[in-house]
Structures are given as structure tokens and as C-alpha cells.
């Protein structure tokens, strides 16, 4: 096995180096350690460009229904939040010019003057308050309505001509960072009410303030965005007049459309298209800083529920080999539940803390020592579910299964149709009988506190195993009220190392953003901000 891994790794490196040697920025493999944040700025404007959404067609353009790749990638260009996430993960004011926190439960947003919706109507504080309040109204059915963030909002009120005040039930230092997501997106109240139940659909669409508006939605084929010439932020006007967004999901069709230039670019190109695209002569496959994590989520059932078993599997797993072979060098081995660089503050502290966590090399001796401590009956097989069309998960489980065999455990991979797999995230009945399920998770916002809270917090929205560590719960509460970034980072780093010691999820790799751009276009961010940042506004002509 070892030999095979090395050989495949060599091939992966070879294919990666195949795409260098061009004058534009060199696409360095993530192995080199420096992933891209942006691509070279556009040299000129474009009349038209095409893009692809590899995860398929959006179901809705309503920001509160945008909680996945297809919807967010489009809505990010249409609707804006009070705050904005920049490509380096910093957070800056956007529709709000500033935020004041008179006490740790109150956020006062000063609303920007002169912002207009696409239809020319001025954005008012009432539109802002209305938009935020939609998450609190069950009738609106916001996918962003959850206990930790919107559930913690006591009230949202227009408190002045240019002021909206949000009161929280309990202090949460990570609250403001959510204003970059659809939680803080602003829509026009009047159009929302007129559209009725069809709001966000191809027939009624939405009304926002972003650099692009919706020109057309040809169902099953494409959504066309049109430059908003009246955009308030004159420095950030869109550089492309018309952007057609297709929904091709088949990996070989994606690869063909990109190499022939019928599509100009795409984020998240499928892993199986990596080798053919990195050899493309008409464009480049670029690797960007990501906030994603590929891993196995524990469900709280069977031998996998014993921390000793999880620790043993985690330390025995050759995560570096998986990054090199299964991900063809487009990922790095995980060493934490928090993806590398997944923070917008406290970089020194988080960086240093991460260095102290065990690296991705396997340690079978440590694994054997751990398994000896297991209290649970380990004869029962551990069933791990994955969506069957994503074959790279099967490769990961098979590596894990090799480790398990060495440890006297038994792992049983179960490929499931997407529909059945999808239910794992919301339906406890679906998870019954499975010890774990594979996932590609991402951080909503680059804040380890907000992210860890969902995974290891007692009532975390992604805590599927009922993980409950009193020490962590206490630290989470303490961190939430610390307003000083460095101080908070220190506390969160402590939670991070406690959490990885119990491995409620087994993190495997941090995949890079896989961005393809043909030679005609450039400018978009390469980092993982395209779900909340108006990336298409930066898309323009490449220098000749």
C-alpha cells in the first residue's frame, strides 16, 4: 500500500507542475504551503462572460433560503450584508458604515446613506430592520434561523434615521461576523411583500442592492446577471456587463466546457476533473486558501462513540497520503477541527496553537496504545455512510479501514443515494445504525469560535453525537463575551486543542479552493469567500 501511495503522489506532483510555466500567477500545489488569496486584477472590462456552478442550479435567490453552494455563490453578487467579508477574510463595513457596541449585548449599526436598490428606490432603515427580522419570523422559513445566532437575537429595531439596533439575549462576540452572511443581507421590503410566496423564484426573483441584478433565469440552463450601473460603491462597479451562470454538474462535461472555453471559469471544479484541467492549454487551475474541511462526523452510535476508538483511528490515519493521492495534492492534511487559516483575527495565536497539534503523519504505535484504552465493545463493525457518487469518500474510508484492521476494528463503508445521505444532517432517524458519515464541511464565517461552537458545543447545530464536554462548554461561554481579539483567540485555541483530543469528528484534509480561469478572464478572489463576497464584480478581462 505504501508503495502505491508514493507512486501516486509522484504522479500528482507531476500533474500539478504541468500547469506552471506560464506568465500569469503560478498555480502552486497546496503542498508548497502558500495558497492564493486573489487572482491578478482585471486589466479591462468584459461585455459578457460565462461561469459554472458545479453543484447545480439554485433553488431560490432569496438570501434567507441561501444556505449552500449554488444559492450562495449567486446571491453573493446580488444581495449585500451590513458587513462584508474580504478575500483575506477580514471583515469590513458595507451597507452599515460602522457598528458600535455600547454593551456586549447591543449592536448599533449606522446605515449607509445613498444606497439604492436595483429599481432605484433608496434603502431605508426599515428595509434593514425588516430584512434582519425575517430570520425571526417562522413564516418566512429562514434556513439561517437557528438557536445559536438568530435564536440569540432579542430584537431588531430601527432606532434612528440611519440606525438599526440589534439586541442579543446573551453576549456573543462572534455575532457581528454573521452580518457578512445572508443573516445580515438586506432586501427591499416592498418588493418582498408584493412578490408573496413566489419571492426568490424564477418568476418573482428578488430586489437587492448588490453590484449585479438578475437579468434572466432560464430554468435548468442558466441565470444571467446584469451589471448594476447605479451601484453605490463606485470603486467596486462590476467589470463584466453580463454574466451567464450555467449549472453543469457532470465532471467530464464541466471539464470539456472549461477546456473548450464555452465556460470561462468555475469554483470547486470536481476532483475527477483536476488532472485533465491542470493540463489545459487555454486556462489555469488555481488553488486558493479555503475554509473547508473533509472529515467523518461521529453520530454517537457504536464503537465510534468511544473517544479512544476515534483517537486511535485519527492517529493511525495517513492524512498526508490521502491529501497527496485521493486529492491529487490539492489538499493538506488536517491537524485540527478548524481548517488551516480559518480565522479573521488572532492569526499569530491560532497559527502557533495549530503547530502544537499532531501533524498528518500516521503513528500506529500511538493508535494501538489508544485502542487498548477503549471501554466500548469494539467487535461491532463501524458503519460509515457517504454519498455514493462522491467516490473520493470511499477512498478515504478504505484508508481508514486499513488502519482499523491493524487495530482489530472493523469499518464498513456504506454508499448511499444523495437523498438518503442528505437526511443525515437533519434527521436523527436517518443516522440510526451508522457510526459516522463523511462530509465536506465549511466554516460559515472565518471565526473558529463560531465554528467550534456548532461542532463541540452542547447544543451545537452540527453536534450530531451529543458530544458534551463541561470544560469546553464553559470555555465557549467564556470566549463568547471576550471582546479583545487576542484574548479571545487564546481561549478559543484552548478549546480547539481540547476538541481535537476527543475528535468528535475525524478531520482528514483541508481541501484547497479549486478555481479554474481561462486565459480570457481574471480578477476573482481565490480564497473561500465566494459564498458571501461579490466575486463576479471583480471578474474582468485578463491582460493580453
Amino acid at each position: 500500500m505504501k508503495k502505491k501511495v508514493t507512486a501516486a503522489a509522484a504522479i500528482a506532483l507531476f500533474t500539478l507542475s504541468g500547469c506552471s510555466g506560464k506568465d500569469a500567477p503560478e498555480a502552486s500545489g497546496p503542498a508548497a504551503g502558500d495558497l492564493l488569496v486573489t487572482t491578478p486584477a482585471a486589466a479591462g472590462e468584459l461585455d459578457a462572460a460565462t461561469w459554472n456552478l458545479p453543484f447545480g442550479e439554485p433553488a431560490s435567490l432569496d438570501p434567507i433560503k441561501a444556505f449552500n453552494y449554488p444559492e450562495n455563490t449567486v446571491v453573493a453578487n446580488l444581495c449585500e450584508g451590513l458587513m462584508k467579508l474580504e478575500s483575506d477574510y477580514s471583515i469590513s463595513p458595507n451597507l452599515a458604515t460602522k457598528v458600535d457596541t455600547p454593551d456586549d449585548k447591543t449592536y448599533v449599526y449606522t446605515i449607509r446613506d445613498g444606497v439604492k436598490f436595483w429599481d432605484g428606490q433608496a434603502m431605508t432603515v426599515d428595509d434593514v430592520a425588516y430584512s434582519l427580522n425575517r430570520h425571526l419570523d417562522p413564516k418566512e422559513g429562514s434556513y439561517w434561523a437557528d438557536g445559536a445566532v438568530s435564536g440569540n437575537i432579542e430584537s431588531v429595531k430601527a432606532s434612528g434615521d440611519h440606525q438599526v439596533t440589534v439586541k442579543l439575549k446573551k453576549a456573543d462576540a462572534s455575532f457581528n461576523s454573521y452580518m457578512v452572511t445572508p443573516l445580515g443581507s438586506v432586501i427591499e421590503e416592498k418588493q418582498r411583500k408584493e412578490a408573496g410566496s413566489d419571492f426568490g423564484t424564477p418568476s418573482e426573483k428578488v430586489m437587492c442592492t448588490g453590484p449585479f441584478s438578475v437579468a434572466g433565469w432560464d430554468q435548468g440552463q442558466s441565470i444571467t446577471l446584469e451589471k448594476n450601473a447605479n451601484y453605490w460603491n463606485t470603486k467596486k462597479q462590476a467589470k463584466t456587463k453580463s454574466l451567464k451562470i450555467s449549472f453543469i454538474v457532470d465532471p467530464s462535461a464541466i471539464s470539456n466546457a472549461l477546456t473548450t472555453g464555452e465556460i470561462d471559469g468555475s469554483y470547486d471544479v470536481p476532483l475527477s476533473a483536476v488532472s485533465s484541467l491542470s493540463g489545459s492549454t487555454s486556462g489555469q487551475l488555481l488553488y486558493g486558501k479555503s475554509l473547508q474541511l473533509v472529515g467523518a462526523i461521529g453520530t454517537g452510535e457504536g464503537p465510534f462513540n468511544d473517544p479512544a476508538v476515534r483517537r486511535a483511528l485519527y492517529s493511525g490515519l495517513d492524512r498526508e497520503a490521502i491529501a497527496a493521492t485521493v486529492f491529487e495534492g490539492t489538499a493538506t492534511a488536517s491537524r485540527s477541527l478548524v481548517p488551516n487559516n480559518g480565522w479573521s483575527y488572532g492569526a499569530d495565536i491560532f497559527g502557533a496553537a495549530r503547530e502544537k497539534l499532531p501533524a498528518g503523519k500516521p503513528d500506529l504505535e500511538a493508535a494501538k496504545a489508544e485502542i487498548a484504552k477503549a471501554k466500548i465493545d469494539t467487535s461491532e463493525p463501524i458503519r460509515i455512510a457517504y454519498p455514493s457518487e462522491r467516490t473520493f469518500y470511499a477512498d478515504i474510508i478504505s484508508e481508514m479501514s486499513n488502519v482499523a484492521t491493524e487495530l482489530g476494528l472493523k469499518i464498513e463503508p456504506v454508499g448511499l443515494p444523495s437523498a438518503k445521505y442528505g437526511a443525515f444532517f437533519s434527521d436523527p432517524a436517518a443516522r440510526e445504525g451508522y457510526g459516522a458519515f463523511m462530509t465536506t464541511n465549511y466554516m460559515d464565517v472565518p471565526d473558529p469560535l463560531a465554528y467550534l461552537r456548532t461542532i463541540v458545543g452542547k447544543d451545537g447545530s452540527q453536534n450530531y453525537s451529543g458530544y458534551d464536554n463541561p470544560e469546553i462548554n464553559k470555555l465557549l461561554d467564556e470566549a463568547a463575551v471576550i471582546t479583545d481579539d487576542a484574548e479571545r483567540a487564546t481561549k478559543v485555541a484552548q478549546i480547539e486543542s481540547l476538541a481535537i483530543n476527543d475528535v468528535p469528528w475525524i478531520p482528514v484534509v483541508d481541501p484547497a479552493v479549486r478555481l479554474y480561469l481561462n486565459d480570457r478572464v481574471t480578477g476573482v478572489p481565490a480564497s473561500f469567500v465566494y459564498l458571501y463576497y461579490p466575486w463576479a464584480a471583480d471578474l474582468g478581462a485578463a491582460a493580453k
Partner: protein, 314 residues
Amino acid sequence: MMFIIRRLLALLGVLVASSFVVFAAMYAAPGKPESFLVQGRTVTPEVLAEIRRQYSLDDPFLLRYWNWLSGVLSGDFGRSLVNRQPVGDLLAEKLPTTLLLVVLAALIIVVAGIGLGTIAGIRRGPLDSAVVIFSNLGFAVPTFFAALILMSIFSVGLGWFPVFGSGEGFLDQLWHLVLPAFALALPSMAVVARITRTAIREESESEHVESARIRGVPRGIIIKRHIVRNSMLPVTTIVGVHIAGLIAGAFVVEYAFTLDGIGSMLVDAVQKKDFAIVQAVAIILVAAFGVINLIVDLLYALIDPRVRLTGVAA
């Protein structure tokens, strides 16, 4: 006439029965629809309850079936669970692509399949061997693989045809559909060519052809009237079955070429557990199958008047 009416009634019965089966099957499948609507997001129970209410997921099964069926009878296929669009509108948008694709593929099967088979059947020699080899190959290559090969040669390599999409306007659409139609038609075309060839061979060696030849009937007339016409009976059956199969098989090609037909819509809807769409498309598939079979039976009578349209034919 009675025959046609009886067949139509039987078709209606099949449609109602299969609609019930499809409706029930979607319920038996694991996972709740509201879970898919929130895309795995953990939302508050109030939001879930509201979603269930909006989509009337709390009504009893039979009531929902009845509501749906009576809706369909009045031309209302309901609304997509995922994007709230009326299913009828979606079908109206996507059906033309699939129909054009299937019609093109059917034309290819009939013209190329029967044509090649007839030529190979009448003339022996290198052409005959070529057709035999081609039909073996064509039958062995799976549709999705044919799609990949055609695409990499004619779209990516030569750049003659577009890589994806259905195109706008009739001619552009036709251009977009040439490769998909070939990929879709290939296996059936191969089978039809092979069966036509065999049928022609059998007819040419039959007694009545032999006696006609001895009586000195001109070769052209023998081929036209005796051989080809008689051999078309088994060929019609096989062509009919294969064309009906095209509709169900179209999804593979639609997916590979990213065509917005009802096939790719069905695949998508099954994955997202979009009840309303799955039910509507399934019904359309069953109906199309039934109608094509009916047409084949009618063609029988046209080709061979001896076949009486009695109710016995199944």
C-alpha cells in the same frame, strides 16, 4: 375503432395505477421532504412546522393523493417543492427539448437502422460485414460512454458541436441536439440494423420469394413488395419498443450533455425528493410508453392488412 377505445381505457387504468405506485413510493423512500428543503441545515422546529404547513405535508396520504390526482385531471400538476414553480410550467419548458431529442434519435434509428440493415440484408460482401461489426460495437457501447466519446471527438477535439446546453431557436437547438441524439440512438440503431438484416435474409430465402423469382418477377419488385414489406413486421415491433425506451433512456444523455429535458429534471428531482416533479414526469413517461405501443399496433395493420385489429392484441 372498439380496439382503440379499449386500448385507451386500458392505458388510462395503467396511468392511474402507476401514479398511485409512484406517489406511494416517494413516501416510502427514506428522508423527510422538509429535511431536503432546508438542505441539511438545523433549523428551529417552528420553521420546520411552517414548511410542513406551506407544502401541506401534514395531510393524510390518501387525501394528498386525491388532491394531486384531481389537480392533474384539471391540468394542474402542483408546485415544485424545491423552487415553488408550477410543475406544469416546468414541464412545458423542458418537454420540447426531450421530445426533439427523442424524435431526432427515433429518426436516426429508423432511417439509419432500417437503411443499413436492408442494405446489408440484400447485398452480401464487405458492406454487410461492416454493418455487422458496427452493430456489434454499437450495441456493446453504453450510452453514457458513447456520449463521452462523441463529445471528446466532435466537440472538444474538432469543435464542430457545442459541449453543453440545449440552444435557443430551432436551428440552434437542432445543432445542440445532433450529438446527444446520436449517442442516444446508437444502441437501438445497432439492434434495429441487425434485426432488419436478419429479417430481410429470412424473407429472401422464403418460399414465396423463391417462387416469384422462378416465375420471373423483376428483382426490384421482389425486393420491394415481397422482401422488404414482409420483413418490416418484426422490425416495426422492435423499432417501437426501442423508441419507447428512448424516452426513459434520455436522462443519461441529457445529464451528460447538460440538456434541460425532463430526464435530467427527473434525476434532479429524485435526488432532492421533489415529489411533485417526480410524480408528473413518471406519469408522462408511462403515458408516452403506452401511446407509442398503441401506435406500433396500429402500424401493424397498415403494414399487413391481414392483422385484424381485434381486441385480442395485448
